[in-house]
Symmetry: C2
Subunit: 274 residues, 2 copies
Protein backbone atom coordinates (compact mmCIF):
# COMPACT_ATOMS: atom_id res chain seq x y z
CA UNK A 1 0.00 0.00 0.00
CA UNK A 2 1.45 3.36 -1.01
CA UNK A 3 0.64 6.85 0.15
CA UNK A 4 2.43 9.82 1.66
CA UNK A 5 2.12 9.96 5.42
CA UNK A 6 2.80 12.37 8.24
CA UNK A 7 2.83 11.00 11.78
CA UNK A 8 2.53 13.82 14.30
CA UNK A 9 3.65 16.17 11.56
CA UNK A 10 6.78 14.30 10.47
CA UNK A 11 7.21 12.10 7.40
CA UNK A 12 6.96 8.50 8.60
CA UNK A 13 5.25 5.29 7.60
CA UNK A 14 5.26 3.71 11.05
CA UNK A 15 3.71 4.16 14.47
CA UNK A 16 4.72 2.80 17.87
CA UNK A 17 3.91 -0.86 18.45
CA UNK A 18 2.54 0.35 21.83
CA UNK A 19 0.05 2.82 20.34
CA UNK A 20 -3.40 2.44 21.87
CA UNK A 21 -4.88 2.76 18.39
CA UNK A 22 -3.31 -0.63 17.67
CA UNK A 23 -3.65 -2.16 21.14
CA UNK A 24 -7.33 -1.33 21.65
CA UNK A 25 -8.65 0.47 18.57
CA UNK A 26 -8.65 3.51 20.87
CA UNK A 27 -9.14 6.30 18.36
CA UNK A 28 -11.03 7.75 15.41
CA UNK A 29 -10.58 8.30 11.70
CA UNK A 30 -11.90 10.39 8.83
CA UNK A 31 -11.54 9.69 5.12
CA UNK A 32 -11.83 12.93 3.19
CA UNK A 33 -12.19 13.37 -0.57
CA UNK A 34 -10.07 16.10 -2.15
CA UNK A 35 -10.49 17.51 -5.66
CA UNK A 36 -7.60 19.61 -6.93
CA UNK A 37 -6.60 20.48 -3.37
CA UNK A 38 -10.11 21.36 -2.17
CA UNK A 39 -12.22 19.30 0.25
CA UNK A 40 -15.84 20.44 -0.11
CA UNK A 41 -16.97 18.59 3.04
CA UNK A 42 -13.93 19.52 5.17
CA UNK A 43 -15.85 21.43 7.82
CA UNK A 44 -18.34 18.58 8.25
CA UNK A 45 -15.47 16.14 8.73
CA UNK A 46 -13.97 18.42 11.39
CA UNK A 47 -17.36 18.74 13.11
CA UNK A 48 -17.71 14.97 13.37
CA UNK A 49 -14.11 14.52 14.49
CA UNK A 50 -14.48 17.12 17.25
CA UNK A 51 -17.79 15.70 18.45
CA UNK A 52 -16.38 12.17 18.56
CA UNK A 53 -13.25 13.37 20.41
CA UNK A 54 -15.50 14.75 23.12
CA UNK A 55 -17.40 11.46 23.36
CA UNK A 56 -14.17 9.42 23.60
CA UNK A 57 -12.41 12.00 25.84
CA UNK A 58 -9.65 12.49 23.25
CA UNK A 59 -7.90 15.88 23.17
CA UNK A 60 -9.30 17.98 20.31
CA UNK A 61 -6.96 18.21 17.33
CA UNK A 62 -6.14 21.54 15.76
CA UNK A 63 -8.10 21.76 12.51
CA UNK A 64 -5.61 24.18 10.94
CA UNK A 65 -2.77 21.73 11.56
CA UNK A 66 -4.79 18.89 10.04
CA UNK A 67 -5.66 21.02 7.03
CA UNK A 68 -2.04 21.92 6.47
CA UNK A 69 -0.88 18.32 6.79
CA UNK A 70 -3.62 17.12 4.44
CA UNK A 71 -2.44 19.62 1.86
CA UNK A 72 1.12 18.36 2.19
CA UNK A 73 0.30 14.66 1.72
CA UNK A 74 -1.81 15.23 -1.42
CA UNK A 75 0.45 17.81 -3.04
CA UNK A 76 0.22 17.44 -6.80
CA UNK A 77 -2.65 14.90 -6.73
CA UNK A 78 -5.78 15.87 -8.67
CA UNK A 79 -8.13 13.31 -7.09
CA UNK A 80 -7.14 12.28 -3.61
CA UNK A 81 -8.41 10.83 -0.37
CA UNK A 82 -6.88 11.82 2.95
CA UNK A 83 -7.23 9.47 5.88
CA UNK A 84 -6.79 11.22 9.22
CA UNK A 85 -6.35 8.79 12.11
CA UNK A 86 -6.33 10.12 15.65
CA UNK A 87 -5.45 7.77 18.50
CA UNK A 88 -4.95 8.12 22.23
CA UNK A 89 -1.26 7.53 21.59
CA UNK A 90 1.21 5.47 23.56
CA UNK A 91 0.17 4.58 27.09
CA UNK A 92 1.00 2.27 29.93
CA UNK A 93 -0.26 -1.28 29.56
CA UNK A 94 -3.94 -1.54 30.49
CA UNK A 95 -7.20 0.12 29.54
CA UNK A 96 -6.97 3.11 31.92
CA UNK A 97 -6.62 6.46 30.16
CA UNK A 98 -3.06 7.82 30.22
CA UNK A 99 -2.66 10.52 32.84
CA UNK A 100 -0.88 12.74 30.32
CA UNK A 101 -2.49 12.04 26.98
CA UNK A 102 -0.18 12.35 23.97
CA UNK A 103 -2.40 11.55 20.97
CA UNK A 104 -1.03 10.18 17.73
CA UNK A 105 -2.06 12.00 14.54
CA UNK A 106 -1.64 10.15 11.25
CA UNK A 107 -2.42 12.03 8.04
CA UNK A 108 -2.09 9.91 4.89
CA UNK A 109 -2.82 10.80 1.25
CA UNK A 110 -3.95 8.31 -1.40
CA UNK A 111 -5.19 8.42 -4.96
CA UNK A 112 -8.97 8.52 -4.98
CA UNK A 113 -10.46 5.09 -5.75
CA UNK A 114 -11.66 4.52 -9.30
CA UNK A 115 -15.34 3.73 -9.61
CA UNK A 116 -16.71 1.20 -12.08
CA UNK A 117 -17.63 2.96 -15.32
CA UNK A 118 -21.40 3.12 -14.89
CA UNK A 119 -21.62 3.21 -11.10
CA UNK A 120 -23.03 6.72 -11.00
CA UNK A 121 -25.34 6.28 -13.99
CA UNK A 122 -26.73 2.75 -13.64
CA UNK A 123 -26.00 2.18 -9.98
CA UNK A 124 -24.52 -0.58 -7.84
CA UNK A 125 -25.65 -4.13 -7.29
CA UNK A 126 -25.93 -4.68 -3.54
CA UNK A 127 -26.38 -7.74 -1.33
CA UNK A 128 -27.64 -8.40 2.18
CA UNK A 129 -25.01 -9.28 4.80
CA UNK A 130 -25.67 -11.77 7.58
CA UNK A 131 -23.32 -10.04 10.04
CA UNK A 132 -25.49 -7.97 12.39
CA UNK A 133 -24.33 -4.72 13.95
CA UNK A 134 -24.38 -4.78 17.76
CA UNK A 135 -26.33 -2.06 19.55
CA UNK A 136 -23.93 0.19 21.47
CA UNK A 137 -25.30 3.73 21.91
CA UNK A 138 -22.02 4.88 23.53
CA UNK A 139 -20.14 4.24 20.27
CA UNK A 140 -22.90 4.61 17.67
CA UNK A 141 -22.41 7.19 14.94
CA UNK A 142 -18.66 7.60 15.43
CA UNK A 143 -16.03 6.58 12.89
CA UNK A 144 -13.90 4.91 15.55
CA UNK A 145 -11.18 2.32 15.04
CA UNK A 146 -13.23 -0.68 16.27
CA UNK A 147 -14.37 -1.91 12.88
CA UNK A 148 -14.30 -5.71 13.11
CA UNK A 149 -18.04 -5.90 12.35
CA UNK A 150 -17.46 -4.13 9.05
CA UNK A 151 -14.52 -6.43 8.27
CA UNK A 152 -16.68 -9.51 8.93
CA UNK A 153 -19.58 -8.15 6.88
CA UNK A 154 -17.34 -7.23 3.94
CA UNK A 155 -15.72 -10.68 4.10
CA UNK A 156 -19.09 -12.27 3.29
CA UNK A 157 -18.66 -11.76 -0.45
CA UNK A 158 -15.88 -11.61 -3.00
CA UNK A 159 -17.90 -11.30 -6.24
CA UNK A 160 -16.54 -8.05 -7.76
CA UNK A 161 -19.90 -7.34 -9.41
CA UNK A 162 -21.39 -6.72 -5.96
CA UNK A 163 -20.59 -3.12 -5.05
CA UNK A 164 -21.72 -3.04 -1.44
CA UNK A 165 -23.42 -5.08 1.30
CA UNK A 166 -26.26 -3.92 3.52
CA UNK A 167 -26.11 -4.57 7.26
CA UNK A 168 -28.93 -4.72 9.81
CA UNK A 169 -28.96 -4.53 13.57
CA UNK A 170 -29.77 -7.58 15.71
CA UNK A 171 -33.49 -6.67 15.57
CA UNK A 172 -33.48 -6.75 11.77
CA UNK A 173 -33.61 -2.99 11.16
CA UNK A 174 -31.66 -1.92 8.10
CA UNK A 175 -28.77 0.30 9.18
CA UNK A 176 -26.33 1.02 6.35
CA UNK A 177 -23.85 -0.39 3.87
CA UNK A 178 -20.53 -1.72 5.14
CA UNK A 179 -18.81 1.52 4.06
CA UNK A 180 -21.71 3.75 2.99
CA UNK A 181 -24.92 5.19 4.40
CA UNK A 182 -28.27 4.22 2.96
CA UNK A 183 -31.17 6.36 1.73
CA UNK A 184 -34.52 5.38 0.25
CA UNK A 185 -37.56 7.18 -1.12
CA UNK A 186 -40.66 5.77 0.57
CA UNK A 187 -44.08 7.11 -0.40
CA UNK A 188 -42.35 10.12 -1.88
CA UNK A 189 -40.36 10.86 1.31
CA UNK A 190 -36.57 10.66 1.53
CA UNK A 191 -35.63 8.50 4.55
CA UNK A 192 -32.43 7.17 6.12
CA UNK A 193 -31.97 4.85 9.10
CA UNK A 194 -31.47 6.23 12.60
CA UNK A 195 -27.90 5.63 13.83
CA UNK A 196 -28.23 6.21 17.56
CA UNK A 197 -27.64 2.54 18.43
CA UNK A 198 -25.15 1.40 15.80
CA UNK A 199 -23.62 2.40 12.49
CA UNK A 200 -21.45 5.28 11.35
CA UNK A 201 -23.09 8.67 10.79
CA UNK A 202 -21.39 9.61 7.55
CA UNK A 203 -20.39 13.11 6.60
CA UNK A 204 -22.10 12.70 3.21
CA UNK A 205 -25.27 11.64 5.03
CA UNK A 206 -25.03 14.78 7.17
CA UNK A 207 -24.70 16.91 4.03
CA UNK A 208 -27.74 15.26 2.46
CA UNK A 209 -29.83 15.75 5.60
CA UNK A 210 -28.74 19.40 5.81
CA UNK A 211 -29.66 20.04 2.18
CA UNK A 212 -32.99 18.17 2.36
CA UNK A 213 -34.70 19.37 5.56
CA UNK A 214 -37.80 17.37 4.60
CA UNK A 215 -35.86 14.08 4.84
CA UNK A 216 -36.74 11.79 7.74
CA UNK A 217 -34.45 9.78 10.01
CA UNK A 218 -36.37 6.69 11.08
CA UNK A 219 -36.39 2.94 11.46
CA UNK A 220 -36.31 1.05 8.18
CA UNK A 221 -37.14 -2.62 7.62
CA UNK A 222 -36.12 -4.79 4.65
CA UNK A 223 -39.84 -4.81 3.73
CA UNK A 224 -39.83 -1.00 3.63
CA UNK A 225 -36.75 -1.07 1.45
CA UNK A 226 -38.35 -3.57 -0.94
CA UNK A 227 -41.18 -1.15 -1.75
CA UNK A 228 -38.99 1.98 -2.04
CA UNK A 229 -39.17 3.89 -5.33
CA UNK A 230 -35.47 4.84 -5.12
CA UNK A 231 -32.53 3.54 -3.10
CA UNK A 232 -29.08 5.08 -3.02
CA UNK A 233 -25.89 5.03 -0.97
CA UNK A 234 -23.84 7.98 0.25
CA UNK A 235 -20.12 8.17 0.92
CA UNK A 236 -17.83 11.12 1.48
CA UNK A 237 -15.26 9.38 -0.74
CA UNK A 238 -17.58 8.03 -3.47
CA UNK A 239 -20.48 10.47 -3.44
CA UNK A 240 -24.07 9.53 -4.34
CA UNK A 241 -24.35 5.98 -5.65
CA UNK A 242 -27.68 4.74 -7.03
CA UNK A 243 -28.62 1.17 -6.11
CA UNK A 244 -29.84 -0.84 -9.09
CA UNK A 245 -30.57 -4.00 -7.11
CA UNK A 246 -30.59 -5.32 -3.55
CA UNK A 247 -30.47 -9.08 -3.99
CA UNK A 248 -33.36 -9.82 -6.39
CA UNK A 249 -35.14 -6.52 -5.87
CA UNK A 250 -34.48 -4.12 -8.74
CA UNK A 251 -34.55 -0.31 -8.59
CA UNK A 252 -34.26 2.42 -11.18
CA UNK A 253 -32.30 5.53 -10.25
CA UNK A 254 -34.95 8.23 -9.82
CA UNK A 255 -35.30 11.99 -9.57
CA UNK A 256 -34.27 12.34 -5.90
CA UNK A 257 -31.06 10.39 -6.53
CA UNK A 258 -30.31 12.42 -9.66
CA UNK A 259 -30.97 15.72 -7.89
CA UNK A 260 -28.55 14.77 -5.12
CA UNK A 261 -25.91 13.76 -7.65
CA UNK A 262 -26.40 17.23 -9.16
CA UNK A 263 -26.05 18.75 -5.68
CA UNK A 264 -22.79 16.80 -5.26
CA UNK A 265 -21.43 18.18 -8.53
CA UNK A 266 -22.42 21.64 -7.30
CA UNK A 267 -20.30 21.08 -4.20
CA UNK A 268 -17.32 20.51 -6.49
CA UNK A 269 -17.17 16.71 -6.66
CA UNK A 270 -16.70 14.98 -9.99
CA UNK A 271 -19.29 12.34 -10.79
CA UNK A 272 -18.70 12.51 -14.51
CA UNK A 273 -20.42 9.30 -15.41
CA UNK A 274 -23.76 10.22 -13.87
Amino acid sequence: MSGRVLVNGSPSTTVSAFDRGLSYGDGLFETIRFVRGAAPLWSQHMDRLRESCVRLRLPLPDAETLRHEATVVIDGMEHAVVRITLTRGVGERGYALPQTPAPTRIVAGFDAPAMAGDAYAAGLRVRWCDTPLAAQPLLAGMKHLNRLEQVLARAEWSDPSIGEGLVCDADGHVISGTMTNLFAVLDGVLVTPALDRCGVAGVARAEILASRPEARVCGLSPTDLARASEVFLSSSVRGILPVQAVGDTVYVPGPVTRALQQHWRGLGFPMEQA
Copy 2:
Protein backbone atom coordinates in the same frame (compact mmCIF):
# COMPACT_ATOMS: atom_id res chain seq x y z
CA MET B 1 6.25 2.52 27.94
CA SER B 2 9.22 0.18 27.81
CA GLY B 3 9.50 -3.42 26.80
CA ARG B 4 11.47 -5.55 24.36
CA VAL B 5 9.62 -6.17 21.12
CA LEU B 6 9.89 -8.39 18.07
CA VAL B 7 7.79 -7.48 15.05
CA ASN B 8 7.57 -10.42 12.63
CA GLY B 9 10.64 -11.80 14.35
CA SER B 10 12.86 -8.74 14.12
CA PRO B 11 13.69 -6.26 16.89
CA SER B 12 11.50 -3.21 16.28
CA THR B 13 9.28 -0.87 18.25
CA THR B 14 7.11 0.21 15.33
CA VAL B 15 4.52 -1.15 12.91
CA SER B 16 3.27 0.15 9.59
CA ALA B 17 0.88 3.09 9.79
CA PHE B 18 -1.24 1.11 7.29
CA ASP B 19 -1.54 -2.01 9.46
CA ARG B 20 -5.14 -3.22 9.67
CA GLY B 21 -4.65 -3.75 13.40
CA LEU B 22 -4.45 0.02 13.68
CA SER B 23 -6.88 0.94 10.90
CA TYR B 24 -9.73 -1.35 12.00
CA GLY B 25 -8.67 -3.21 15.13
CA ASP B 26 -8.46 -6.21 12.80
CA GLY B 27 -6.61 -8.68 14.97
CA LEU B 28 -6.22 -10.48 18.28
CA PHE B 29 -3.99 -10.43 21.33
CA GLU B 30 -2.91 -12.58 24.27
CA THR B 31 -1.27 -11.43 27.48
CA ILE B 32 0.67 -14.28 28.99
CA ARG B 33 2.24 -14.46 32.44
CA PHE B 34 5.75 -15.92 32.66
CA VAL B 35 7.53 -17.02 35.82
CA ARG B 36 11.27 -17.62 35.45
CA GLY B 37 10.83 -18.36 31.76
CA ALA B 38 7.84 -20.71 32.15
CA ALA B 39 4.25 -19.93 31.15
CA PRO B 40 1.98 -22.41 32.96
CA LEU B 41 -1.06 -21.48 30.84
CA TRP B 42 0.79 -21.32 27.51
CA SER B 43 -1.14 -24.11 25.80
CA GLN B 44 -4.48 -22.58 26.80
CA HIS B 45 -3.39 -19.24 25.35
CA MET B 46 -2.44 -20.96 22.09
CA ASP B 47 -5.80 -22.79 22.03
CA ARG B 48 -7.72 -19.53 22.33
CA LEU B 49 -5.53 -17.78 19.78
CA ARG B 50 -6.00 -20.57 17.23
CA GLU B 51 -9.74 -20.74 17.78
CA SER B 52 -10.10 -16.97 17.39
CA CYS B 53 -7.94 -16.98 14.24
CA VAL B 54 -10.38 -19.42 12.69
CA ARG B 55 -13.35 -17.22 13.66
CA LEU B 56 -11.68 -14.09 12.21
CA ARG B 57 -10.23 -15.93 9.19
CA LEU B 58 -6.70 -15.02 10.22
CA PRO B 59 -3.88 -17.38 9.17
CA LEU B 60 -2.87 -19.58 12.11
CA PRO B 61 0.41 -18.53 13.71
CA ASP B 62 3.12 -21.07 14.42
CA ALA B 63 3.09 -21.74 18.15
CA GLU B 64 6.76 -22.76 18.21
CA THR B 65 7.77 -19.45 16.65
CA LEU B 66 5.68 -17.55 19.17
CA ARG B 67 7.18 -19.54 22.02
CA HIS B 68 10.69 -18.83 20.82
CA GLU B 69 10.02 -15.12 20.39
CA ALA B 70 8.38 -14.90 23.81
CA THR B 71 11.49 -16.44 25.34
CA VAL B 72 13.67 -13.87 23.58
CA VAL B 73 11.73 -10.80 24.74
CA ILE B 74 11.67 -11.86 28.41
CA ASP B 75 15.23 -13.12 28.57
CA GLY B 76 16.55 -12.49 32.07
CA MET B 77 13.23 -11.35 33.54
CA GLU B 78 11.98 -13.31 36.55
CA HIS B 79 8.37 -12.10 36.46
CA ALA B 80 7.19 -11.10 33.03
CA VAL B 81 4.15 -10.63 30.86
CA VAL B 82 4.29 -11.25 27.12
CA ARG B 83 1.75 -9.55 24.90
CA ILE B 84 1.32 -11.30 21.56
CA THR B 85 -0.59 -9.21 19.03
CA LEU B 86 -1.60 -10.76 15.74
CA THR B 87 -3.13 -8.55 13.05
CA ARG B 88 -4.25 -9.05 9.47
CA GLY B 89 -1.27 -6.93 8.46
CA VAL B 90 -1.01 -4.26 5.82
CA GLY B 91 -3.73 -4.23 3.20
CA GLU B 92 -5.28 -2.07 0.54
CA ARG B 93 -7.56 0.67 1.79
CA GLY B 94 -11.03 -0.67 2.62
CA TYR B 95 -12.54 -3.41 4.76
CA ALA B 96 -12.20 -6.27 2.24
CA LEU B 97 -9.78 -9.01 3.31
CA PRO B 98 -6.41 -8.80 1.55
CA GLN B 99 -6.16 -11.37 -1.24
CA THR B 100 -2.71 -12.38 -0.01
CA PRO B 101 -2.81 -12.06 3.77
CA ALA B 102 0.50 -11.11 5.40
CA PRO B 103 -0.25 -11.00 9.13
CA THR B 104 1.72 -8.88 11.54
CA ARG B 105 3.06 -10.62 14.64
CA ILE B 106 4.11 -8.45 17.57
CA VAL B 107 5.67 -10.14 20.60
CA ALA B 108 6.48 -7.78 23.46
CA GLY B 109 7.86 -8.51 26.93
CA PHE B 110 7.13 -6.44 30.04
CA ASP B 111 7.77 -6.67 33.74
CA ALA B 112 4.79 -8.29 35.43
CA PRO B 113 2.57 -5.70 37.14
CA ALA B 114 2.96 -5.33 40.89
CA MET B 115 -0.19 -6.06 42.89
CA ALA B 116 -1.21 -4.06 45.95
CA GLY B 117 0.22 -5.72 49.04
CA ASP B 118 -2.91 -7.45 50.33
CA ALA B 119 -4.72 -7.98 47.01
CA TYR B 120 -4.46 -11.76 47.21
CA ALA B 121 -5.16 -11.99 50.95
CA ALA B 122 -7.85 -9.39 51.62
CA GLY B 123 -9.12 -8.94 48.07
CA LEU B 124 -10.02 -6.05 45.79
CA ARG B 125 -12.60 -3.33 46.17
CA VAL B 126 -14.71 -3.33 43.01
CA ARG B 127 -17.30 -0.95 41.53
CA TRP B 128 -20.14 -1.21 39.03
CA CYS B 129 -19.54 0.39 35.63
CA ASP B 130 -22.32 2.11 33.70
CA THR B 131 -20.83 1.24 30.31
CA PRO B 132 -22.78 -1.75 28.97
CA LEU B 133 -21.23 -4.39 26.73
CA ALA B 134 -22.99 -4.73 23.38
CA ALA B 135 -24.24 -8.18 22.38
CA GLN B 136 -22.29 -9.44 19.37
CA PRO B 137 -22.13 -13.25 19.24
CA LEU B 138 -19.77 -13.14 16.23
CA LEU B 139 -17.08 -11.46 18.35
CA ALA B 140 -17.97 -12.66 21.86
CA GLY B 141 -15.33 -14.53 23.80
CA MET B 142 -12.38 -13.44 21.66
CA LYS B 143 -9.57 -11.19 22.87
CA HIS B 144 -9.73 -9.09 19.70
CA LEU B 145 -8.37 -5.58 19.21
CA ASN B 146 -11.77 -3.80 19.34
CA ARG B 147 -11.67 -2.80 23.00
CA LEU B 148 -13.26 0.66 23.14
CA GLU B 149 -15.98 -0.61 25.48
CA GLN B 150 -13.32 -1.65 27.99
CA VAL B 151 -11.56 1.70 27.60
CA LEU B 152 -14.83 3.56 28.28
CA ALA B 153 -15.68 1.35 31.26
CA ARG B 154 -12.20 1.73 32.78
CA ALA B 155 -12.39 5.51 32.28
CA GLU B 156 -15.36 5.64 34.66
CA TRP B 157 -13.15 5.72 37.75
CA SER B 158 -9.73 6.97 38.77
CA ASP B 159 -9.80 6.19 42.51
CA PRO B 160 -6.71 3.96 42.94
CA SER B 161 -8.36 2.10 45.83
CA ILE B 162 -10.85 0.61 43.34
CA GLY B 163 -9.15 -2.41 41.82
CA GLU B 164 -11.63 -3.31 39.11
CA GLY B 165 -15.02 -2.42 37.62
CA LEU B 166 -17.80 -4.85 36.77
CA VAL B 167 -19.63 -4.58 33.46
CA CYS B 168 -23.06 -5.84 32.46
CA ASP B 169 -24.68 -6.39 29.09
CA ALA B 170 -27.51 -4.17 27.86
CA ASP B 171 -30.05 -6.47 29.55
CA GLY B 172 -28.37 -6.04 32.93
CA HIS B 173 -26.71 -9.44 33.16
CA VAL B 174 -23.34 -9.32 34.91
CA ILE B 175 -20.63 -10.29 32.43
CA SER B 176 -17.13 -9.66 33.81
CA GLY B 177 -14.63 -7.13 35.06
CA THR B 178 -13.05 -4.70 32.58
CA MET B 179 -9.89 -6.85 32.46
CA THR B 180 -10.84 -9.94 34.47
CA ASN B 181 -13.45 -12.67 34.50
CA LEU B 182 -15.88 -13.01 37.37
CA PHE B 183 -16.76 -15.99 39.54
CA ALA B 184 -19.19 -16.32 42.43
CA VAL B 185 -20.26 -19.04 44.82
CA LEU B 186 -24.08 -19.19 44.83
CA ASP B 187 -25.84 -21.70 47.09
CA GLY B 188 -22.57 -23.57 47.32
CA VAL B 189 -22.11 -23.78 43.54
CA LEU B 190 -19.26 -22.07 41.67
CA VAL B 191 -20.72 -20.04 38.80
CA THR B 192 -19.39 -17.68 36.11
CA PRO B 193 -21.30 -15.70 33.48
CA ALA B 194 -21.91 -17.08 29.99
CA LEU B 195 -19.85 -15.22 27.39
CA ASP B 196 -21.54 -16.26 24.16
CA ARG B 197 -22.94 -12.78 23.47
CA CYS B 198 -20.24 -10.45 24.83
CA GLY B 199 -17.13 -10.41 27.00
CA VAL B 200 -13.73 -12.05 26.75
CA ALA B 201 -13.42 -15.73 27.64
CA GLY B 202 -10.24 -15.56 29.68
CA VAL B 203 -7.61 -18.26 29.74
CA ALA B 204 -7.61 -18.24 33.55
CA ARG B 205 -11.40 -18.73 33.43
CA ALA B 206 -10.87 -21.71 31.11
CA GLU B 207 -8.34 -23.20 33.55
CA ILE B 208 -10.76 -22.77 36.47
CA LEU B 209 -13.62 -24.38 34.55
CA ALA B 210 -11.36 -27.27 33.52
CA SER B 211 -10.22 -27.86 37.09
CA ARG B 212 -13.72 -27.52 38.58
CA PRO B 213 -16.03 -29.62 36.38
CA GLU B 214 -18.87 -28.98 38.81
CA ALA B 215 -18.77 -25.23 38.07
CA ARG B 216 -21.70 -23.80 36.12
CA VAL B 217 -21.70 -21.26 33.29
CA CYS B 218 -24.94 -19.34 33.47
CA GLY B 219 -26.68 -15.98 33.53
CA LEU B 220 -25.90 -13.91 36.61
CA SER B 221 -27.80 -10.85 37.85
CA PRO B 222 -26.54 -8.19 40.26
CA THR B 223 -29.10 -9.57 42.73
CA ASP B 224 -27.53 -13.02 42.43
CA LEU B 225 -24.12 -11.49 43.02
CA ALA B 226 -25.34 -9.63 46.11
CA ARG B 227 -26.26 -12.90 47.83
CA ALA B 228 -23.10 -14.81 46.80
CA SER B 229 -21.03 -16.30 49.61
CA GLU B 230 -17.78 -15.69 47.69
CA VAL B 231 -16.85 -13.51 44.73
CA PHE B 232 -13.50 -13.54 42.96
CA LEU B 233 -11.88 -12.40 39.73
CA SER B 234 -9.60 -14.36 37.44
CA SER B 235 -6.86 -13.10 35.16
CA SER B 236 -4.08 -14.89 33.34
CA VAL B 237 -1.75 -12.06 34.38
CA ARG B 238 -2.93 -11.51 37.96
CA GLY B 239 -4.27 -14.90 38.98
CA ILE B 240 -7.11 -15.41 41.47
CA LEU B 241 -8.20 -12.17 43.12
CA PRO B 242 -10.73 -12.26 45.96
CA VAL B 243 -13.35 -9.49 45.91
CA GLN B 244 -13.81 -7.83 49.29
CA ALA B 245 -16.56 -5.46 48.17
CA VAL B 246 -18.69 -4.62 45.14
CA GLY B 247 -19.94 -1.14 45.87
CA ASP B 248 -21.46 -1.39 49.34
CA THR B 249 -21.78 -5.17 49.35
CA VAL B 250 -19.00 -6.78 51.37
CA TYR B 251 -17.59 -10.28 50.90
CA VAL B 252 -15.10 -12.38 52.80
CA PRO B 253 -12.69 -14.51 50.79
CA GLY B 254 -13.90 -18.08 51.31
CA PRO B 255 -12.77 -21.66 50.86
CA VAL B 256 -13.44 -21.93 47.11
CA THR B 257 -11.38 -18.80 46.44
CA ARG B 258 -8.57 -20.02 48.68
CA ALA B 259 -8.55 -23.46 47.08
CA LEU B 260 -8.23 -21.91 43.62
CA GLN B 261 -5.40 -19.67 44.81
CA GLN B 262 -3.72 -22.85 46.01
CA HIS B 263 -4.36 -24.44 42.62
CA TRP B 264 -2.75 -21.38 41.00
CA ARG B 265 0.34 -21.76 43.17
CA GLY B 266 0.41 -25.41 42.16
CA LEU B 267 0.50 -24.36 38.51
CA GLY B 268 3.66 -22.41 39.28
CA PHE B 269 2.31 -18.89 39.75
CA PRO B 270 3.47 -16.79 42.69
CA MET B 271 0.69 -15.34 44.80
CA GLU B 272 2.91 -14.87 47.83
CA GLN B 273 0.63 -12.57 49.71
CA ALA B 274 -2.34 -14.93 49.73
